[in-house]
Point group: C2
Chain length 263, copies 2
């Protein structure tokens, strides 16, 4: 995914949260973690919570100040809860992801080379988030909409939501993304299905076969057809059958015919 996104954690108290953030980052395809004066790091608790994302912890940079953490970034996005005295321009996580994509696709420099426009996403302290001073150093704020009666989101959960939106946006809208991975309703019509779609005439073949066998079993009376065949056609055409499903049904019907003939 994007290589220009840096996750910054301010003064994290619980090493478990650092591990959970690392795991969420790797799950969503992010890699760069910067820790500003964490209470305890490295820490075995962080490593356990990171599970298969220990490499993110191993590569994490530890710095002393906010300034060092955002050095070289073209844009700084701070995670913010509600209720600041002075409202600041604030995005929801979805708009935040679109904003990051904008920066990722920017190129700059006289050489015409693509320059990596690093964007920092800054997560606050567990107990009191980012300070007003830090928030005013950000170009944008991102706010995750929460239940007004209980808005206290765990820091790793917040990162999980932000990183999920980055991944969704990347898959759906980035020229480098693969929209099929966002897995909008998978049906036999999609490339991820395991069997080829039955053609319309194969399905018609099945319906004809069914009509024939139902007539043989006296279930269907061609002189009084009512709406039986249209109903079957609607069912089987609607369900977008694959070739194996058609073959299974026709194989079954063949056994029914054999069974009747043998009587």
């Amino acid at each position: 995914m994007y290589s220009n996104v840096r996750i910054v954690m301010m003064n994290t108290s619980h090493p478990g949260n650092i591990g959970a953030v690392a795991r969420a980052m790797k799950n969503m395809g992010l890699g760069e973690l910067c820790l500003v004066s964490p209470k305890s790091f490295p820490d075995i608790v962080a490593e356990r919570r990171a599970a298969g994302a220990k490499d993110i912890l191993a590569n994490a940079r530890v710095v002393d100040t906010f300034d060092e953490a955002i050095e070289g970034c073209v844009s700084v996005i701070g995670a913010s809860a509600r209720g600041r005295k002075i409202p600041w321009p604030v995005m929801n996580p979805r708009d935040c992801a679109a904003k990051v994509r904008e920066f990722a696709s920017l190129s700059s420099g006289d050489t015409g080379q693509t320059h990596q426009n690093t964007v920092a996403i800054v997560l606050g302290r567990e107990d009191r988030g980012l300070s007003n001073d830090e928030l005013q150093r950000c170009n944008y704020h991102v706010h995750i909409p929460t239940n007004p009666e209980y808005g206290s989101l765990n820091v790793a959960m917040a990162l999980q939501v932000l990183a999920y939106e980055l991944r969704m946006d990347y898959l759906l809208y980035s020229s480098m993304g693969d929209a099929s991975q966002a897995a909008c309703t998978l049906s036999p019509e999609d490339s991820g299905w395991d069997e080829a779609l039955a053609t319309s005439d194969e399905v018609e073949g099945l319906i004809g076969h069914l009509e024939n066998v139902m007539t043989k079993t006296d279930f269907f009376d061609p002189d009084n057809p009512r709406q039986l065949i249209p109903r079957l056609r609607r069912l089987f055409q609607r369900s977008r059958m694959d070739k194996i499903e058609v073959n299974i049904m026709r194989g079954f019907l063949n056994t029914v015919v054999k069974g009747i003939s043998a009587k």
Copy 2:
């Protein structure tokens, strides 16, 4: 938010995950939790992780089987990782939220009364998710797109993402939701801003004032205007100033004029 969504956790091993799910549920406005044969519940570890969402744990229902958990539900959505032998229709979390909204807005029954169409969202075991048998009992599968190289999402993180999408969808699209809470880019044009937007002529008044003062200070030469005024106009009109900002700037300019006259 929706009162017709039931979160079901299958055979959870780590009570911490139950607590984290409860917290994520309450953060996003969900309330109904059903636990199928958890390894340990109630448990102090779950309570600690639940933080301010202990009420969700206190009201959680514990049952023995999948069937009991989904009883009375009109639709069952199972959280699924990739790579099943038989692909099943699968949605991403965003489409899942839209699907839940559909069910929430359905009414049924001869009386014309709104009937609560409960939808279950079923989360699998920490180590191996839902069984094939359980997945085939679901009407839909929901899959969170992850890094193909590390797709192992913690169960509470998965619920956080699904519940976040439910909330976003509810705020943005439900007739009961309040879209302003989804906090798309807040600017002085939005109702959440603290001061009234300056009118266009107030901003023009500022620009005229500025031009006047800049001429007085010999910064601006009306006989050689270049693009100075258009650039100022573009800046101040673009930033959608509020009334106080205009007043601040004009107050400042007045002090500049006084300072010059006093010389």
